[in-house]
């Protein structure tokens, strides 16, 4: 399977990395992301989002800055912590006063999908993976490309303020032979803890991005020119 990389973004407590370059995180934490750092136009629902949704929305906004993608774009996302923070806040509302409908509506690991689909008008296929198996995210994104999806937003989000991060890679159908080879292991969540970070480190500073190609085997990234599997 093969797909081009259209764009990327990585947000950590320390920095923002995108095709535009790397900048020092201008906020104090992952929960404090200045709007102007990631997108130019205000989005009125941003303040109502939970931490997970805000962080993922910011990463996708950063990756898609200046890029137009079609409605048919798919989303594949890993959420290691699910909706844990909102779950606890909702249960607190049950125990302390009355159940909050707005909190309950966000108590799903998939809640962030709506926060991406609505503002970016993405009506393609969706898969939310509970856990942090980043290679499974990439593999499922490539599955969707292979099934005819022109673009897929693939990423993960962990809103932990100390060691959390969010990363997004935009994949698109390609004819290129200029590839990054990713050989994905099956049981790889332990052996590839930061696959997206590794790929983005490879991409940082490039003017032209290679494609991603996968097969099942031992993980490595290598670049080749003008060859195919």
């Amino acid at each position: 399977m093969i797909a081009s990389i259209g764009s990327f973004a990585l947000i950590t407590p320390r920095e923002f990395i995108s095709p535009a370059g790397a900048i020092v995180h201008p906020g104090n934490s992952l929960a404090d992301i200045p709007r102007e750092s990631v997108y130019s136009e205000p989005y009125r629902h941003f303040g109502k989002m939970g931490d997970t949704e805000k962080l993922m929305f910011s990463a996708v906004s950063l990756a898609l800055k200046g890029i137009s993608i079609p409605e048919s774009t798919g989303i594949v996302c890993a959420v290691p912590n699910g909706s844990l923070t909102t779950d606890c806040a909702y249960m607190q509302s049950v125990n302390e006063q009355f159940p909050s409908p707005s909190l309950f509506a966000a108590t799903l690991p998939s809640s962030l999908i709506a926060e991406l689909a609505i503002p970016f008008t993405l009506r393609g296929p969706n898969r939310v993976l509970a856990g942090n198996d980043q290679s499974a995210v990439l593999l499922n994104a490539l599955f969707l490309i292979e099934r005819g999806c022109d673009f897929v937003v693939a990423g993960y989000v962990d809103p932990n303020p100390v060691h959390g991060s969010a990363a997004v890679i935009l994949l698109q159908q390609t004819e290129t032979h200029h590839t990054l080879h990713l050989d994905l292991q099956r049981k790889d969540s332990e052996t590839i803890p930061d696959l997206f970070g590794s790929i983005i480190a490879e991409l940082e500073g490039r003017k032209h991005f290679p494609a991603i190609k996968t097969r099942i085997g031992t993980f490595h990234i290598e670049e080749s020119h003008g060859t195919t599997h």
């Binding site: 159940p99 799903l108 998939s110 296929p125 993976l129 599955f143």
Partner: protein, 372 residues
Amino acid sequence: MGFCVDDHRLITDQTCIVGSAVVTPLGTTEESVTSLLDGKSAIEISCPYGYPVSVAPFPDLKYQNPKQLASLLSDQLPDLPTYNSDETLVIFAAAKGSTEAVESGQSPENSLLQNQGKAFAEALGLEQSNFLAISNACASGIAAIDAARDYLFHHIYETVIVCGFDLISQFTVTGFHSLSALSPTGARPFDKDRSGMTLGEGAGIVVLQQRVPQLGEIVISGSATTNDANHRTGPSRDGSGLALAITHSLKESGIAPEEIGAIKCHGTATPYNDAMEAKALTSVFGNNQPPAVSFKGNMGHLSGAGSIVETILAAELLKRKQLSGTFGFNRTDCEEPINISASAVAIAKPAMAVLAAGFGGLNACLILKEIQ
């Protein structure tokens, strides 16, 4: 829309259902199918956690233990231990992790969906298999089957097992009650006198393999997910997202809408959902629609695991060429020409569409086909 399905899926190998089992408020697979065809409902008028709402609980409280549930499923699948290997992927599908862990303030790790899923896979005796958890709200089951088909199509695993369960809890009852979504008298999908949904409990497991099917076998010949990109909790008003999922699934199956013999609707019995589905069905199937059913008047809404359970029960009905009636349905107030079955009818054509939808604008569809 630019998303289209490549014709390469139209090949000899198909995604075959090689084994399945459910536990629902109506009982085991066989008991559930019989009860559906007999027009029985497990819905009770109750007052769970102090709220006057209808529920469809398991017939025995002990079923609420995930280990007991796993045992009830594996008892119906004697071959299950043979799949406990590195050649198998287990996909756990659910809308949420352990709400009981959240309610009781346990360690956060205990509530995470993937940890609950891994424990369930171990209880099923599949601890040596690989594991993935998919959570697409109330469309999780079909989304997981859709992903399973990719892993099988690319020969990454010999077998993919999709499983999941959902329980009624204080968390879900208070939550859906706060949204004014629960019926005090029981779900009546598509009926003009409906008063909301009923929460139910259920578990399901389906064993899938990619191979040349035998005559009479039920295969999953197409599947798709889409998003409405419209509202965080409510369905789109025009049903276009679900219609798109149906269209993609049919295209992947290589069959036309008029070749579908029956439809298993999501059918939650909330006015917005029912109206959305009616629009989606009319958009795809036009004025001459195949009979459609919702199981939620019989056994409530089983949340994320629901579409695993409902897919299995739909496949059982397709085998029997009998579609059950929609419990509680008499007369619709939908303007579209939907063909909801009020009582059991014959399935005249060997293909069935199974639909699901969920919070976040998530839609899913799969096509079941009997090989002839």
